[in-house]
């Protein structure tokens, strides 16, 4: 729920509208969903990819292939973080060679996740091309990566957080912008601060 420290920037309706618009954009550019595959990046890219596949099927009568990508093995910060992230499976049930792939993720921030995803996909084969859809583009890129389809452009400051919640993973559809936590008013309950 939105509080004083958070604002709802997308609700269920605006998420549906954004996905529907993107489905149309994809069809406009490619005329058909044939030979097209949607690959969702774990975790929230996966339900988004399935939804877009469903919308494309409704519009066009053909459901594109979908796949799941776990990018953790390709992260560039593995030697910097204490706990190696929990690995989940990558499941790409179609032939990546000569495929046309739209990568799907929830939030585009530094672009490093997408860099890792591109490397991961290329290890599985040689697609004809790869495009990128994100539900929210919040800026602050650290590598030269740009999305092809965007649900919502959301200017943010670096310290803010964008939280995407989806029916399939979180029980409801919304996008929240969380402001930086305010200074502690009295004594912190988390223990002494450094």
């Amino acid at each position: 729920m939105p509080t004083s420290k958070s604002a709802r920037v997308m609700d269920a309706d605006s998420i549906v509208r954004a996905l529907t618009r993107v489905a149309h954009e994809i069809l406009e550019r490619h005329h058909s969903a044939r030979k097209l595959a949607l690959v969702g990046i774990r975790n929230r890219g996966v339900p988004l990819a399935h939804r877009i596949a469903g919308l494309l099927e409704k519009l066009n009568g053909h459901r594109p292939d979908t796949g799941i990508l776990d990018i953790n093995l390709y992260r560039d910060d593995l030697s910097l973080i204490a706990d190696h992230p929990i690995l989940r499976k990558t499941e790409i049930p179609f032939d990546v060679d000569r495929s046309k792939i739209v990568l799907v993720d929830d939030v585009l921030f530094t672009g490093r996740t997408i860099r890792a995803a591109l490397e991961g996909l290329m290890d599985l084969g040689r697609p004809d091309w790869i495009q990128l859809f994100v539900l929210v583009d919040r800026g602050h890129r650290e590598v030269p990566i740009r999305p092809d389809y965007v649900g919502k452009n959301l200017p943010t400051s670096r310290t803010e957080q964008v939280e995407v919640r989806l029916e399939e993973t979180d029980g409801r559809d919304e996008v929240l912008l969380l402001r930086e936590p305010p200074e502690p008013e009295t004594k912190s309950e988390q223990g002494p601060q450094p």
């Binding site: 390709y74 030697s79 910097l80 706990d83 690995l87």
Partner: protein, 311 residues
């Protein structure tokens, strides 16, 4: 969730949730093994020393493939080529290896406790690849991974048959399977069953028929003749007759039993050829899964090591 240790010294020091984490992580690496390009950049720039003081082909190759598939640099240091034969102590060899600043040392040694000794005197992560008759944790993990893909570990009945006395595989497997809620029974001639083995959490029998009754998993162990200095057995033929796993005996097991062997096999001694090659055998699957499990272990320990270094 993370491993609470930076070394993998044995199953004894792992909790059930850590075992679960390693097995779950191995599923991801098993998928990498099915790709055309079976390599990920995850441990780029890390160095692993495979320090094998006891001869080993399959375990060392398995670790080496795992390291290469993770893009780590692997260096093999084996007994024949090492200064061990020239009289250097384990500590001095360890210091020499340490001076090359590896991130991991994978050690196989004929003395129980050698990996633990190394862990106390070295700054890098130690992985036990078998120490004497003590433990062989990655073998037990890959066995559990292989079993789990067919039957859930909890409530499973597993029979481990053969030379329990000299077997680190048996010890690690008993510990692991009982921690994961399986019932384990070990079976062998009295001379090859260590005193007090039931304290590990298994039941014991001298009769193979009793061990096999209703078993979901049947694990045959190799007779480690090279470790038998005195008369443990009247003859190999008698052993095969009383304790060899054959088709006839396997009928007592549960439907669709899983037949395992850590290798190398003595065909016709602890297991007959038709059972080893039969439809229930997962012996080659164990080898394939070994690579995925070892990749998972290295991946999880690498994260831990960096965490300690950063704090």
């Amino acid at each position: 969730m993370r491993l609470r240790t930076r070394h993998l010294l044995g199953i004894a020091s792992l909790e059930a949730d850590e075992i679960q984490l390693i097995l779950d992580t191995a599923e991801s690496f098993a998928e990498v093994g099915t790709r055309e390009i079976k390599k990920v950049p995850t441990l780029r720039g890390k160095t692993v020393v495979n320090f094998f003081v006891e001869p080993s082909t399959r375990t060392r190759s398995s670790f080496e493939i795992a390291e290469k598939r993770l893009s780590a640099d692997a260096l093999n240091f084996s007994a024949e080529s090492s200064s061990f034969v020239k009289g250097e102590t384990l500590l001095d060899t360890a210091r020499t290896l340490e001076a090359m600043v590896p991130d991991f040392i994978v050690i196989r040694h004929s003395e129980a406790g050698a990996p633990h000794f190394l862990a106390r005197h070295s700054g890098c992560s130690i992985v036990n690849a078998g120490d004497g008759a003590h433990e062989h944790p990655t073998q037990a993990l890959l066995d559990a991974f292989t079993i789990r893909r067919r039957k859930p570990l909890k409530g499973l009945r597993a029979a481990i048959i053969g030379d329990i006395l000299h077997s680190r595989v048996a010890r690690s497997n008993v510990l692991l399977l009982s921690k994961m809620g399986a019932d384990v029974i070990v079976c062998g001639p009295p001379t090859l069953l260590p005193v007090g083995v039931e304290k590990l959490g298994c039941s014991v029998t001298h009769r193979i028929e009793e061990a096999l009754e209703g078993a979901d998993v049947v694990m045959a162990l190799r007779l480690q003749l090279e470790r038998m200095s005195r008369g443990f057995l009247p003859s190999l033929r008698e052993y095969a007759k009383l304790y060899g796993l054959n088709r006839e005996r396997l009928r007592r097991a549960a439907p669709e039993p899983i037949v395992m062997h850590p290798g190398p096999m003595n065909r016709g001694v602890e297991i007959t050829g038709d059972v080893a090659d039969g439809e229930h055998s997962v012996i080659l699957e164990q080898v394939t899964n070994g690579v995925a499990v070892r990749m998972a272990v290295l991946y999880l320990l690498a994260g831990e090591l960096e965490g300690e270094a950063a704090s």
